[in-house]
């Protein structure tokens, strides 16, 4: 007997934002439950579609979740988004439907709708198990899987069960889910940022009254938290069935701020679908399709399924990263020196380093480290870092390197994203790890005394591991195609991205640097720039980090540099512009012996931010025999080009900063900007064409960690890296960088790049610093100059007319709408030199619209 239909299926009310009434259809499935039911589905109705997206919502949402996919689907893709029976605007049958029933329901629906071509399932929340259950029964037509903030299994340590149990407390459940709209509202309240009121109302639309909400509680009750639950077996079967999806393309999209489906669940799915592409939308939460428009990412990804993966750059496999350490295993030459305030504190020879690396690698393997496991290194540059880095590499681990300049919050965010299996750190870092719940088994660099263990929760120390490793076999070494590193460095804006490298790419980077700068085994390196310090042992040369605060390069003094140079008789010095600036500023403190030591330096390198020629010039005034070079590149690929101080002088002034000719083995293309400042995709190497700089090299990054969409966009044309820098070639093949693409001002006359205007303004007497930013809508932006003047006021104000005149005549043809004087310009912490133009632009936008003056 057919149960009483409590409420028939219905069409959604008109006027819900983003919902086209023409999409709504009512479909009857007579077979469902042996009696029948009527569904409300959204269907863009594409006939003869190449592909159907079957979109499955969770609890307590409805097909409205997928409106962006329906609205922007390409013409050959059909999008069908269902409302489960008893949910959304589908029929209220008054039955209780468990997971198994819902999978059957969905199969009945696709049969009734005659969806028999290729299908990609798209599912959110508890729609995940339903859709995957359907998928496992329809493998012959399954073309892909897109999952977001969902689960098929409760990982251990997950806090969700506790939450679910709390909600399920008898007497509470009905109150939260049914008799009040608390659960429906609560789910919408998870959204980040908070959606507009009309969207929240639309999400609630089918669940206005208690009689429409019964199934919401049923969904919550159906989550199996113990093996005796009636749905436990179904869910386990769905989870175990994922092994059959190894050939099916998969995309995992995640809102990491989800308080229920945390990164633990992402990890679980990644392990079950190891081939999946992953994108974490930093800042987004549980209601991912509401929080961000996922449609462009999904359709980009689908587009990529048809095309062959771009052949990666010919991977010329060089010697392994530890080969020089092994080669020098019986050599008593000093490998790494740790510098203290009163001179060298500790040194290891290559023989000692080789022994340490091998025993530590064995130790790591014997505590369970597997090839591909991630090891985060929270260790300052020096002997311990060298040991941990090369041992991790040797053991097959992927090292996670996080720039200390990111600060506690940035490090926390990076580590939660990278999700390392092991975390090696100094006690201070480990105690932060404990407080901030960074993932990974903790290993201390120091001795594991009882207080240290208590403070840090460390399970092992390096000495422990080396002792264990001394008596255990060394693991197999990873190959050149294995992943080697995920590096988080601070960008100009936004959260740091994890840049992924394979072994052969880092090998190629080492070799490119050695070739470019003719680095020989007899060279000795002072690295006052974090990333470069890591390469010393791999290059087989002695290295040392001078006494300085590595997170604040401007703290390096001339004396500290000279003492480090003296300690190893250095021939190479690498420092960031901020470090070298301070070296020049403190050069008068140098003692005669220190001056003599600096005379032994043959090569001075500086990178990390645009390097002003006068910084190089003043630094070579104390390193009189050194040739100054500055490589151009970024975390994703370095070096791209190189220029010496002499070549900078020869290039003279032009639009932007001359970074020299691309180095051997690196291809550079310009992707010209259109009048609105957007790249056109018609790449060229013609001179004097302004565009985004695109690079390809053997030492280029592999991609971005768990940022599939970012990686996809940064890899156009396929196999290339879009640098985000804009610039041009000159007629002699030299590359000039004019700024970041995001900093280009989009005026009615076309794109205006900031750097050369700033240089012109900085030449005005009394101007200390300047930033050129745009205000107003793209395509009709006005150019604004924000300047810092000598002995200026402590408050921001409009420039007086004579200064405004000077600025306007300095920049020539570009119309400057306003000249604002500010006491200082915000710069990024890491390099202490990159001007934060986004922040200045946002401030200028407010002030020049009549807002409060304040400071940028």
């Amino acid at each position: 007997m057919k149960p009483v239909t409590l409420q028939p299926a219905a069409l959604p009310p008109a006027g819900l934002p983003g919902l086209d009434p023409a999409w709504s259809r009512l479909i009857e499935t007579p077979g469902v439950d042996g009696v029948g039911g009527t569904w409300h589905v959204l269907d863009n109705g594409v006939a003869d579609a190449a592909l159907t997206l079957l979109c499955v919502h969770g609890n307590p949402t409805w097909s409205y979740l997928w409106k962006d996919l329906l609205a922007s689907a390409p013409s050959n893709i059909r999008v069908v988004a269902v409302d489960h029976i008893d949910m959304g605007f589908s029929e209220r049958t008054g039955t209780t439907r468990r997971l198994a029933q819902r999978i059957e329901d969905l199969s009945a629906l696709t049969a009734a709708m005659e969806i028999d071509g290729d299908v990609v399932i798209v599912a959110h929340d508890w729609g995940g198990p339903i859709a995957l259950g359907w998928a496992e029964e329809h493998l012959n037509q399954l073309a892909g899987v897109v999952l977001m903030n969902t689960a098929v299994h409760q990982p251990s340590n997950a806090s969700a069960p506790a939450l679910i149990r709390a909600v399920r407390t008898p007497g509470i459940l009905d109150k939260i889910c049914v008799s009040t709209p608390a659960f429906v509202r609560g789910a919408a309240a998870f959204s980040r940022p908070r959606p507009p009121r009309e969207v929240r109302m639309a999400l609630e639309a089918p669940y206005r009254t208690p009689d429409r909400r019964a199934a919401i509680a049923d969904f919550v009750k159906d989550i199996p938290l113990d093996p005796r639950h009636p749905t436990a077996a179904t869910l386990d079967a769905v989870a175990n069935g994922l092994v059959d999806l190894g050939d099916i393309p998969a995309l995992l999209l995640w809102g990491p701020s989800d308080p229920v489906f945390s990164d633990l669940y992402l990890r679980d799915l990644e392990q079950r679908l190891p081939h999946a592409n992953v994108h974490r939308f930093i800042g987004a939460s549980h209601m991912l399709p509401v929080d961000v428009n996922i449609a462009p990412v999904v359709f980009d990804w689908l587009k990529g399924l048809d095309t062959e993966k771009a052949a990666s750059f010919a991977s010329v496999s060089g010697a392994s990263l530890w080969s020089n350490i092994e080669r020098l295993a019986h050599d008593d030459r000093v490998a790494v020196v740790d510098m203290g305030p009163d001179g060298p504190e500790r040194a290891v020879t290559f023989a000692e380093l080789a022994d340490g690396v091998s025993s530590l690698a064995s130790g790591l393997a014997s505590i369970g480290l597997q090839r591909g496991d991630r090891v985060a290194l929270l260790v300052p540059p020096g002997i311990d870092l060298a040991l941990c880095l090369y041992a991790s590499w040797r053991a097959g681990a992927v090292v996670v390197l996080v720039d200390a300049g990111l600060g506690a919050r940035g490090i926390s965010r990076a580590l939660k994203s990278a999700n390392p299996d092991y975390l090696i750190g100094i006690p201070k870092a480990l105690s932060a790890a404990r407080t901030l719940r960074w993932p990974g088994t903790r290993i201390a660099t120091s001795e594991l005394s009882r207080p240290v263990a208590a403070l840090t929760g460390a399970k092992y120390s390096l000495d422990n591991l080396r002792a264990i490793g001394a008596t255990s076999p060394i693991p197999d070494a990873p190959g050149p195609d294995d992943f080697a590193a995920v590096a988080f460095t601070s960008g100009a804006t936004g959260p740091a991205k994890g840049v992924v490298y394979r072994h052969h790419q880092i090998q190629a980077q080492r070799d490119a640097l050695m070739d470019l700068y003719d680095i020989q085994g007899t060279d000795r390196l002072v690295a006052a720039f974090g990333p470069f310090a890591l390469f010393g042992p791999s290059m087989g040369i002695t290295s040392i980090v001078p006494e300085m605060n590595v997170t604040s390069p401007g703290t390096l003094t001339a004396r500290a540099l000279a003492q480090a140079v003296d300690a190893v008789d250095a021939t190479l010095v690498f420092g960031s512009p901020a470090a070298l600036k301070n070296v020049a500023a403190t050069a008068r403190d140098l003692l005669p012996a220190e001056r003599t030591a600096l005379e032994g330096v043959r090569l001075l390198l500086s990178a990390g931010a645009p390097v002003p020629a006068d910084v190089l010039r003043s630094a070579t005034a104390v390193m009189v025999n050194a040739t100054a070079h500055t490589p151009y590149g970024m975390t994703e690929v370095l070096p791209v080009a190189d220029i010496s101080l002499e070549q900078i002088d020869a290039a003279g002034t032009g639009r932007g900063v001359c970074v020299g000719i691309p180095v051997t083995g690196v291809d550079v293309l310009i992707d010209p900007l259109d009048t609105l400042g957007a790249p056109t995709g018609t790449t060229t190497t013609d001179p004097n064409v302004l565009g985004e700089v695109c690079v390809r090299a053997g030492h280029m990054r592999e991609g971005y960690d768990k940022l599939w969409s970012t990686q996809h966009q940064a890899s156009q044309p396929p196999g290339w890296h879009r640098t985000g820098d804009v610039g041009h070639f000159d007629s002699e093949g030299r590359l000039w960088i004019e700024g970041r693409i995001g900093h280009v001002v989009k005026t009615m006359f076309g794109p205006v790049t900031p750097i050369d205007l700033e240089h012109a303004i900085n030449r005005i007497a009394d101007v200390v610093q300047s930033a050129i930013v745009g205000v107003g809508p793209i395509g009709t932006q006005q150019v604004v100059a924000v300047i810092v003047i000598r002995d200026g006021s402590r408050r921001s104000a409009l420039a007086k007319e004579p200064m405004a005149d000077a600025v306007r005549s300095a920049v020539g043809d570009v119309d400057i709408a306003a000249v604002v004087v500010s006491p200082s310009l915000p710069v990024d912490k890491r390099h202490n030199s990159k001007i934060d133009r986004f922040r200045i632009a946002a401030w200028a936008e407010r002030v020049l619209a009549g807002g409060r003056m304040g400071t940028p």
Binding site: M748, T780, L798, A817, V820, V847, L848, M853
Partner: protein
């Protein structure tokens, strides 16, 4: 081409007439009082339909500038001159056989008081326009554009803050106040404001006349495309007059509320002059209003030939020569 120019006594009106004359057009001006020039003159009030039809008979084109301006005043007078007047001129032009009509409007017809940052010409809205002038001009623009037809192409042009040597509205008032030491900067003075050097505005009106057949029925905001902080604009004018920039500063909210009080007092006393501050003026001085000029420049095939910098040089020269004459 026989061109009728209404309201030709203003700075912009005179400049337009000179420009048309120099092009060799057959120009007639229609205005209330004689200006004793050698341009053919028909005297009358736009509110008087008969007088208007005498002027429009047989004309090929009309540039309609006549309007009652001001930040305060009795609605009936704005209604008569701006709404009725425009209707009379449009009706007369059509009856008189004109095929092109350029209606001179104001960006304030689409301004509800908020900051305008790089916006295009939005539709005139009498309901949200601030004050009787803007409201009446919004009605007038609708009336003019409604008359756009295959026989007569009507284009609305909204020049923003027109100024130049001899300007009594903007330049005259600012300089007079600066002389009295009563000129104040409202708020931070940093809000970006568009303005138009008078020669550029005149060029744009004539360009609209030339292009009218292809752009009939549309509205265009015209400016120099060089917005400046309001304080810089004021200072440049004051400096051109050889005076010192103002030092008095009034917080924006105070200016706005003070303006409201002044308006009430002026209303109650039925004064016909403008109060020293009005809420409308405070808004104008305290919020950004500058415009996207791409469509205007492309559609009118026009761009400014006199930059603001050049304009201020000419303004200073004109003040200098006036002073030589007076001293």
């Amino acid at each position: 081409m026989r061109v009728l120019v209404t309201g030709a006594t203003s700075l912009l009106g005179r400049t337009v007439v000179d420009l048309l004359m120099s092009r060799g057009e057959d120009v007639t001006v229609f205005q209330r009082h004689t200006t004793n020039t050698d341009v053919r003159e028909i005297l009358g009030d736009v509110g008087d339909a008969d007088a208007v039809s005498r002027a429009t008979t047989g004309t090929d084109a009309v540039i309609h500038l006549a309007a009652r301006v001001g930040v305060t005043g009795v609605w009936k007078e704005f209604e008569r001159t701006n709404i009725m007047g425009t209707t009379n001129v449009v009706v007369g032009a059509r009856a008189g056989g004109a095929s092109r009509f350029v209606h001179v409007s104001s960006p304030s017809v689409a301004h509800a008081g908020e900051s305008l940052v790089g916006v295009g010409a939005r539709s005139a809205d009498p309901n949200s326009a601030r004050g009787p002038y803007a409201r009446s001009k919004a009605f007038a623009e609708h009336a003019a554009l409604a008359a756009n037809s295959a026989d007569m192409a009507v284009v609305a042009v909204r020049p923003h803050l027109v100024w130049g040597p001899g300007d009594k509205q903007l330049v005259g008032r600012i300089v007079a106040r600066a002389r009295q030491g009563r000129l104040a900067i409202v708020g931070t003075g940093a809000a970006l404001i568009d303005s138009t050097y008078v020669d550029n505005a005149a060029d744009a009106l004539v360009a609209a006349l030339d292009k009218a057949p292809t752009i009939g029925g549309r509205s265009f905001v015209v400016s120099n495309g060089q917005p400046r902080p309001v304080r810089e604009l004021v200072n440049r004018i004051v400096l051109a007059a050889g005076l010192a920039p103002p030092r008095i500063k009034v917080p924006y909210q105070l200016a706005r509320s003070g303006g409201l009080v002044a308006e009430r007092i002026w209303d109650r006393q039925e004064r016909s002059d403008d109060p020293p501050m009005t809420s409308f003026l405070a808004e104008q001085l305290g919020t950004a209003h500058w415009f996207d000029q791409r469509d205007t420049r492309e559609s009118l095939d026009w761009s400014p030939t006199v930059s603001l910098e050049e304009g201020f040089v000419r303004l200073a020269a004109s003040f200098a020569s006036t002073e030589r004459v007076t001293s």
